[in-house]
């Protein structure tokens, strides 16, 4: 049987130092809940850098391609219009006039594609139930979540107290 231990801190720097000590002992910090991003925690507890930016780039590429294909079809292939004698027979020659919309549509797709991916990956959508272990973690408390075997429970709690945790809660996993 393993136990889930929640160690609460009231200072982000104390939590960070605490996490370092816990990790040094060979234990794994499952997650950290905080009211704002604690800088430096990702490397300590092994949170990998998100690949959202790569997604964003791909969405942008898609948007740009769609905009150019669309405008070429509308303005060059399907219904060429003579507007002030501007070139209406060739995408490359008409390109300067298409740049603003290409840019806007690229940004549009990048931003919204990234935002939707962000919500889906976080599993945060309208009306979803909050899963933070303690409501105070969105105010001024920082919680470290550790999963340990029941036999090691007392030892872990002692270690966490030593690192400056102000409150320790546990529940069966």
């Amino acid at each position: 049987m393993s136990t889930v231990i929640y160690a609460m801190y009231d200072d982000d720097h104390v939590l960070l130092e605490g996490a370092k000590k816990v990790v040094a002992k060979g234990m794994q910090v499952k997650d950290v809940f905080s009211p704002f991003p604690v800088h430096g925690i990702d490397d300590v507890i092994g949170v990998r850098k998100t690949r959202l930016a790569i997604c964003a780039f791909l969405y942008g590429l898609t948007g740009m391609t769609l905009a150019l294909i669309g405008m070429r079809y509308f303005m060059i292939v399907d219904w060429p219009m003579n507007i002030g004698g501007k070139p209406n027979f060739d995408l490359m020659q008409n390109l300067p006039a298409f740049i603003p919309v290409t840019f806007e549509f690229t940004v549009f797709c990048t931003a919204h594609g990234m935002a939707i991916t962000y919500f889906l990956r976080n599993k945060t959508l309208p009306g979803m139930k909050a899963k933070n272990p303690d409501p105070r973690t969105t105010d001024d408390k920082f919680v470290m979540e550790i999963h340990v075997d029941e036999s090691k429970e007392a030892e872990t709690i002692a270690l966490l107290k030593e690192t400056g945790a102000i409150e320790i809660n546990k529940k069966a996993a």
Partner: protein, 471 residues
């Protein structure tokens, strides 16, 4: 972790604040009851808004013949108001995106409200081209949709269509950027809410935010990328708005400096509006510890800088109209300054070129009353700038027999004042239900910019951020 802070840095958060105190201070307006002042201002705004809505219905029902437009002056207050509102809508994203990229910590106190202002201002702006269509129910024709008119597409060579794409992209991206930042703050309010209805509402709006390390990791990446995207977007939007004029062949509009000149003007008026709103808000919502004189001073410096850029643009425009040797250009500008509409040109020059120069005096730019008056003067000036550009350029046609003036009707005035009313109704509602300060972002700068924390840092003591902390 040793942090070094230069001695000349002033604190950005006053008083002996802790993380919890920040939550308390920012949530107070949301959780408490509205004061008498709020109801008074809200009633006034609602009254104006009602007049505006009435005028909107009248315009849609009867047609835009109820405006003062005539055959010569076929763009007037409508487009003036449109450009004015879009311009105001520029400061929010500039503060949240550009200042984020430059790592300006003072943005944290004002970005939320500035962005709210942007969103409401862009909504007001979008109303005018929609109403100008006359048959607003045909508004979907601006989109490239398959159709039965011989498959007639929208014209992608036209700046008016670029504008459709620019404004809708700007609006929706700003909205998403704003909302993503709001989610952790909604979670804070959700976790504190006592009343079941409020708890339910904020739970829905908080999207189940937990604040786990992985979520924050993604949050920071999204904020950075969106800021990177929004930065060129801000500059593109008003550039494209300016092309509505610059790509035409009307003397006074056909100017290559329009894009940068419009962007500078937009930032100028946007910051002025932020100043107007912040000065009232810090007082009414008791945020004097977070929105400091220093913040106002920073904004005033930006107003001074962009005001000077606008001034240079006005003068180069004037010079080029003479230097180009084009008779029509020369006349257009001569007529602006000395013709029938000289007073609007004079108002524009005084409010936009002369008044921001007063900000060179440190004592004045740190004076709140002075700033408040000046911020309103700037926005009056920027309204006149658009009026001057639009109306004075077209009211003297090439053929003197078509010369005309513009007389606004009560509907024109009702729409303009009405949008100001609707804007303030939205903004006042926002101030009651949304966290007006990005509270979770403010917490990240407490350690380095809080007044008592800075004192501890400089004294080499341990920095306390928690209440009754033993550490």
């Amino acid at each position: 972790m040793h942090h070094v802070e230069a001695d000349i840095r002033e604190p950005l958060i006053l008083g002996n604040k802790t993380y919890h105190q920040i939550t308390e201070d920012v949530c107070a307006p949301v959780e408490g009851k509205a004061g008498k002042m709020w109801y008074m201002v809200f009633s006034l705004a609602a009254l104006l808004a009602l007049w505006g809505v009435g005028c909107i219905f009248y315009t849609v029902g009867v047609g835009i013949g109820v405006w003062g437009l005539n055959k010569t002056v076929d763009w007037a207050w409508d487009i003036t108001n449109f450009v004015w509102w879009v311009g105001i809508g520029h400061a929010g994203t500039l503060i949240s995106a550009v200042l984020l990229l430059f790592r300006q910590r003072w943005r944290m106190a004002i970005n939320r409200s500035a962005e709210a202002m942007t969103i409401f201002a862009v909504i007001m702006a979008a109303l005018f081209p929609l109403l100008h269509m006359g048959r607003i129910w045909m508004a979907y024709w601006v989109l490239p949709l398959p159709n039965q008119f011989g498959s007639l597409w929208v014209n992608f060579n036209s700046p008016l269509l670029w504008d459709v794409f620019a404004i809708s992209t700007y609006f929706s991206v700003s909205l998403v950027f704003w909302y993503i930042g709001l989610i952790p703050d909604f979670a804070t309010i959700r976790d504190r809410a006592v009343k079941p209805a409020a708890k339910k509402a904020y739970s829905i709006m908080a999207f189940g935010w937990t604040g786990s390390a992985k979520h924050w990791n993604r949050f920071e990446e999204v904020s950075l990328v969106l800021a990177g995207l929004a930065t060129p977007l801000v500059f593109s939007v008003h550039s494209i708005v300016s092309m509505d004029f610059a790509t035409s062949v009307i003397p006074g509009w056909h100017t290559t400096i329009f894009p940068p000149y419009f962007v500078a003007g937009a930032v100028f008026s946007g910051f002025a509006m932020v100043c107007t709103l912040m000065l009232v808000m810090r007082k009414v919502l008791h945020l004097e510890d977070y929105i400091l004189v220093k913040h106002i001073e920073y904004m005033n410096i930006i107003i001074m800088l962009t005001g000077s850029m606008v001034g240079v643009a006005y003068l180069s425009e004037l010079f080029i109209s003479w230097y180009s040797g084009v008779e029509y250009e020369g006349y257009a500008f001569m007529n602006r300054a000395t013709g029938w509409y000289w007073w609007s040109y004079a108002a524009m020059m005084t409010c936009n070129v002369v008044s921001p120069q007063l900000m060179w005096v440190k004592k004045w730019r740190r004076n709140l009353t002075f700033t408040f008056i000046l911020s309103i003067v700037v926005n009056i000036g920027m309204w006149f700038e658009r009026f001057v550009i639009i109306v004075t350029s077209i009211h003297r046609d090439y053929v003197p027999s078509s010369w005309n003036l513009f007389h606004p009707t009560f509907v024109d005035m009702g729409l303009f004042l009405g949008t100001i009313g609707i804007f303030f109704v939205l903004y006042l509602l926002y101030a009651r239900v949304f966290p007006v300060l990005a509270l979770n972002e403010v917490k990240t700068i407490l350690r380095t910019t809080g007044e008592s924390q800075l004192k501890q840092l400089r004294a080499g003591e341990h920095i306390t951020v928690a209440e009754g902390s033993k550490h």
